[in-house]
């Protein structure tokens, strides 16, 4: 790091202010229900290479820390002031989790030099396709999930590409909502641009360039320090999605977390291969795709809440996600396996962090709906001890497929005492921070794959 530490902290505060201001601008102006009710959006600042270095802390989806726009950024190229780029295609650029996630990025120049990108995404209410809102587990091809826009300039030096906009708006069910969301994203990115210009004026362009690098480096150093506190070893956990398609078979998600010094390997070998239904996660083969690392980020942060939430923290980790895997395999279709994935990571980290004495009940998440973790979601948790199903009430309480899979009392009306997602997850993190605080050696055997246990419970 070359920036003096006091200046770097001040710089970090300014970068954070920019990302937060972008988020507030977007949040108040967006039209999508997903933004208003579940904050399914993000804003941020990225390096000229496309690595996110500032993300909002108070608002928005929490899984985009360190999202790498590099592929998408390269696919457009030749950036000019006034450009605004757009994509919603999960299979080109690999920034979009699914078709309704419309990502945009705007180059920010200082005296003809590209110094940063303002980035943002909104989960649009609908982008066309076979069903309203575009997503359904019935679908078998990505082409059924609505219009796909590969990375392109929507604005070229400030001039709107009307043809691209017309094609998009013609192919969606509620064009005025998509248009409103586009405007909200543009307003947010303009805010980001203004803030970056203020920063360059305040710190000078040299300090700005170096400060961005140093923020990422500091995040990396902080993450390595956290990883060093976890004993070396292989930690294994597996979990199952209920079905790969309606009436289908369970889908296995397996993770061996390998801690080696200050590095982590997230090895997803043993997970099931690509699915027929829309539950795939395209990563483009990236070793550090943030959709595979959400649980990693949460765990690091829960152990050390002073950690900078930026792309630097992903550097000490890499993922092994084999090709014949539900986790990465290319086209066909996709939806969201992210949430269960993140819980697999969290659970893999539990034994690595557990103390010998723990009074924390063991919970197992058997199903989750896809909403932003910051806002919660419909989750069913089973206490391994009592087998009593407990629901966390969510925006959409419990989907029918959960009720039909579990032979348990229906959870959609008058549930037993509700717990939130966080109540379950907190028990894990609680164990985690315990051991970090006490430094107790961890000799607990890895958690076994719950195959038998799960089928016992459900039979």
């Amino acid at each position: 790091m070359r920036t003096d530490p006091v200046t770097l902290q001040i710089f970090a505060n300014h970068a954070q202010a920019a990302a937060d201001s972008m988020a507030f601008t977007l949040f108040r102006t967006a039209h999508s229900t997903f933004v208003k009710e579940t904050e399914d959006f993000t804003t941020g600042l990225a390096t000229p290479d496309g690595m996110t270095f500032a993300s909002p802390r108070d608002l928005g989806a929490t899984w985009f820390i360190g999202l790498d726009y590099a592929n998408a950024v390269r696919m457009v190229g030749n950036y000019q002031p006034g450009d605004i780029c757009i994509t919603n295609d999960p299979y080109s650029g690999f920034v979009c989790t699914h078709t309704p996630d419309l990502h945009m990025w705007k180059p920010i120049f200082w005296q003809d030099e590209l110094v940063a990108f303002a980035v943002s995404h909104i989960h649009n209410t609908d982008v066309g396709g076979a069903v309203p809102a575009s997503l359904s587990r019935q679908l078998t091809e990505v082409h059924q999930e609505g219009i796909r826009i590969p990375p392109h300039k929507l604005y070229d030096q400030g001039k709107l590409n009307q043809a691209l906009l017309d094609v998009m708006l013609t192919n969606v069910r509620m064009p005025e909502q998509n248009y409103g969301d586009l405007q909200a994203q543009i307003a947010a990115m303009n805010t980001g641009e203004r803030k970056v210009h203020d920063m360059v004026r305040k710190f000078g362009v040299e300090v700005f360039r170096q400060g961005v690098k140093d923020l990422l480096d500091l995040g990396e150093r902080q993450a390595r320090a956290v990883l060093r506190r976890i004993p070396d070893g292989d930690y294994f956990f597996a979990d199952y999605l209920d079905e790969d398609a309606p009436g289908g078979v369970p889908v296995r998600l397996a993770l061996t977390l390998k801690i080696r010094g200050d590095e982590a390997i997230l090895d997803f070998s043993g997970s099931d291969s690509q699915l027929q239904s829309s539950l795939n996660v395209p990563t483009g083969g990236a070793e550090r795709h943030i959709l595979l690392m959400v649980g990693y980020t949460y765990c690091l942060y829960s152990i050390d809440p002073t950690i900078l939430l930026n792309g630097g923290i992903t550097r000490p980790a890499r993922c092994i996600a084999a090709f014949s895997n539900s986790v990465t395999r290319p086209p066909l279709s996709r939806y969201m396996t992210r949430k269960p994935l993140s819980s697999v990571i969290r659970y893999a980290m539990v034994p690595s962090l557990r103390t010998r004495r723990s009074c924390v009940p063991r919970w197992r998440i058997v199903a989750c709906s896809a909403t932003c973790s910051g806002v919660g979601g419909g989750v069913v948790a089973l206490s391994a001890a009592s087998k009593a199903p407990t629901t966390a009430a969510g925006g959409s309480p419990c989907s029918p497929r959960i009720g039909s899979t579990l032979k348990a009392p229906s959870c959609s009306t008058s549930p037993p005492r509700p717990v939130t997602v966080r109540t379950c997850l907190a028990s894990i993190a609680c164990v985690a921070s315990f051991s970090v605080v006490t430094g107790a050696p961890t000799t607990v055997a890895p958690v076994r794959a719950p195959t038998e246990a799960a089928s016992d419970m459900w039979s």
Partner: protein, 685 residues
């Protein structure tokens, strides 16, 4: 002789402002507050007013006061034991809330336990639909069952919050009547009475807090009225409101929800008064005390209002002067991480032990210690002689982190100030984005014990060019109560498009609001003077799910001028969000009416213009902007109208210290306010 008295009771001090109506002179006073025995400090302060200024109870013609009894009941969880009755199958409303976690990235983040725990939320069988029609009539047996259960659970009051009661309150009213028959004397709070807004959680949460604090607040006000009467104060007691207005204490007993955030609101009203006096209308008010730092925005002379302001852990959704906490104030602790990074806060030394330099056992460096180590404070007592500053203790505390930073002691102290200021910049920037303003168009009005110390530094960071330091920065809330208008808000749910077809309905709804508002101010408040009606509407584009508050004008409504109304919305949308869509249909969510009966505004006499330069009390050494400098220290009392200040310099007064770094120059106005302006050469840097 007649005096107007404003009192604001905070956690540590109760502030008094006494205005002599004949001369316009203002006397101020602080006494220690008595949280164990609320109201006693009021009597103590009245006695002190008599002793020090010869102001006697029978001379008091007007008495307003703000109290923290309500908000403390929530924070300390000392309200009454309530049960909540909801529509069957909606009993999780308080637990589910809006799902959001306080720290979304932290796996251990938890929401505060609701004021009514889940076991005390009971279902009632009934259903009213969104259009107000009854789908399932109120089932008396289920209501009876819920009531019996509530009584068995020891309920001291019942909150009724049924679905869509903002649209049709019939079931809440019927249930209230039945509960009155079955359990006479049981307090019942209907969500449709408390604040009938759309959105189930928001309405329920607001009604819950109201029910929770109402009995203790009513008890307190009754006791206060008796104490004032006994002390010989004939004037009817008034209380300040979260909306920046005042109402009678008598009404406060039932409308106590409206008093919860009155202390911070009154501070902003006081700030607005001072700003007007100084001829400023775009102001960021910055109140930094020992344990909190709060910002509010005054646009065109009017404070910004918001809903969803926090009362302890919980939001309330009534119109409230919007005040945002941006940190912990002078007690924020500085620490260096293992990576050599300096952080200030969120940990705070609070008021106990407080900063190390207060000599009450604190050893870790705080923002206040940083200023002491730099020589800015410690030249006299602060806080009305309550605290002496021990500079050596401050230097020792700052010394503990200087090594870790690899800096000298003063450089470390200055780094603490810079980092703290950049943290405040971050929070103010966020607030500005939420409100759609550019701080550079504003004057920073700095008050509270630490505000004048930090004001210029934060202004530099934000690109603000002017900083105003009021004459009495410690008692703005009390002053605010004194100048606040009699004011109330009325709301009715609309939920129809802004269209010619709906125009008769729009007019009828506003007429209804106007009648209620007029009745409130003339009959309930017995307000004899002229009053103003200010209509507004919460509007949004068709398809949006958040509305914005758009001020309207009575004559637009009377004339049925839909274009003017729509134009006002588009303009407001553009101002807040940077874009508008004039071709998109506009939706009315709710209609509002504010009634304002103006209080007489004090006319402070202008001070005579002084000539010559002010005389510094002494020269002191301070470390500012990277070097030790010898600068003049002025006593505030020695500064008068027309005096000019160069920079750098320090001004000390009884309740605060003003730090003027290089690049600012100051002028004292006719009312004693100091306006510090960034010199032209510094702008843009």
């Amino acid at each position: 002789m007649s005096y107007r008295i404003g009192v604001d009771i905070g956690g540590t001090f109760a502030d008094f402002c006494a205005l002599d109506e004949a001369t316009g002179r203002l006397a101020t006073l602080k006494v220690l507050s008595t949280p164990q025995e609320p109201g006693r400090e009021v009597i103590a302060g009245l006695e002190e007013l008599g002793n020090r200024f010869g102001i006697h109870p029978q001379d008091i013609g007007y008495f307003t006061h703000g109290t923290t009894v309500g908000i403390n009941s929530v924070i300390q969880r000392k309200g009454i034991r309530l049960c909540l009755f909801t529509t069957e199958n909606f009993v999780d409303v308080l637990e589910v809330a809006r799902l959001k976690m306080p720290d979304p990235y932290h796996l251990m983040s938890k929401r505060a336990e609701p004021l009514i725990t889940r076991d005390r939320v009971l279902p009632v069988r009934q259903r009213i639909l969104a259009d107000g029609t009854v789908e399932t009539p109120l089932d008396h047996a289920s209501l009876r069952r819920a009531l019996d259960q509530a009584i068995a659970l020891g309920a001291e009051g019942i909150v009724l919050a049924l679905l869509h009661s903002y649209r049709n309150p019939a079931h809440e009213r019927e249930a209230e009547r039945l509960i009155g028959q079955w359990a006479p004397g049981m307090p019942v709070f209907c969500s449709s009475d408390v604040w009938p807004i759309i959105r189930e959680y928001e309405r329920t949460a607001t009604a819950t807090i109201h029910g929770y604090v109402q009995p203790p607040v009513a008890r307190y006000l009754t006791a206060l009225q008796a104490a004032l009467k006994q002390a010989g104060v004939a004037a009817e007691a008034m209380v300040t409101k979260s909306n920046g207005g005042v109402m009678t204490a008598e009404l406060g007993k039932s409308a106590c929800l409206q008093m919860l955030l009155s202390g911070t609101a009154a501070g902003v009203i006081g700030a607005g008064f001072v700003a007007r006096q100084a001829g400023l209308d775009q102001v960021l008010s910055l109140d930094i005390g020992g344990t909190s730092a709060d910002v509010a925005i005054i646009v065109d002379g009017t404070p910004t209002y918001g809903t969803g302001e926090m009362v302890g852990d919980f939001p309330i959704y009534i119109p409230t002067v919007s005040v945002t906490s941006i940190g912990d104030g002078g007690g924020s602790i500085a620490a260096v991480s293992e990576f050599g990074i300096l952080a200030v806060g969120p940990e705070s030394a609070g008021s106990t032990p407080g900063p190390a330099c207060y000599g009450r056992g604190g050893t870790r460096p705080t923002m206040t210690d940083a200023f002491a180590a730099c020589g800015v404070i410690g030249h006299g007592n602060i806080g009305y002689d309550a605290v002496a500053v021990d500079v050596e203790k401050a230097r020792a505390a700052v010394g503990t982190i200087a090594t870790g930073l690899g800096r000298g002691l003063e450089q470390a102290a200055e780094a603490i100030i810079q980092v703290a200021v950049s943290g405040m910049y971050r929070e103010v920037g966020k607030l500005a984005s939420r409100q759609g303003i550019d701080p550079r168009d504003f004057t920073l009005l700095a008050f509270g014990g630490a505000g004048p110390m930090l004001g210029c530094f934060l202004a530099r960071e934000l690109g603000i060019r002017q900083v105003l330091i009021p004459t009495a920065p410690g008692v703005l809330s009390a002053l605010g109560g004194l100048v606040a208008d009699v004011k109330n808000d009325f709301i009715s749910t609309a939920y129809y498009p802004l269209s010619t077809a709906e125009l008769p309905r729009l007019k009828a709804d506003f007429d209804g609001l106007a009648r209620r508002a007029a009745a409130w101010i003339t009959e309930e408040q017995k307000f004899a003077g002229p009053y103003v009606l200010q209509p507004a509407a919460d509007m949004r584009y068709h398809g949006q799910s958040f509305e914005i508050d758009v001020p309207l004008q009575l004559d637009w409504i009377a004339a049925g001028d839909l274009e003017r109304i729509a134009a006002a919305f588009h303009a407001q949308h553009d101002r807040l969000y940077g874009h508008s869509a004039p071709a998109t249909p506009v939706h009315l969510v709710s209609l509002r009416m504010v009634v304002v009966g103006a209080s007489p505004q004090p006319q402070f006499p202008a001070e005579p213009l002084r000539t010559g330069a002010p005389a510094p009390a002494k020269q002191i050494d301070v470390y500012l902007d990277g070097t030790w400098r010898t600068v003049p220290l002025y006593r505030r009392a020695d500064l008068g109208h027309g005096h000019r200040l160069g920079s750098p310099c320090v001004v000390a007064q009884e309740d605060t210290t003003i730090c003027v770094p290089q690049g600012f120059s100051g002028a004292v106005d006719a009312y004693g306010n100091i306006l510090l302006s960034l010199d032209h050469a510094q702008i843009g840097q």
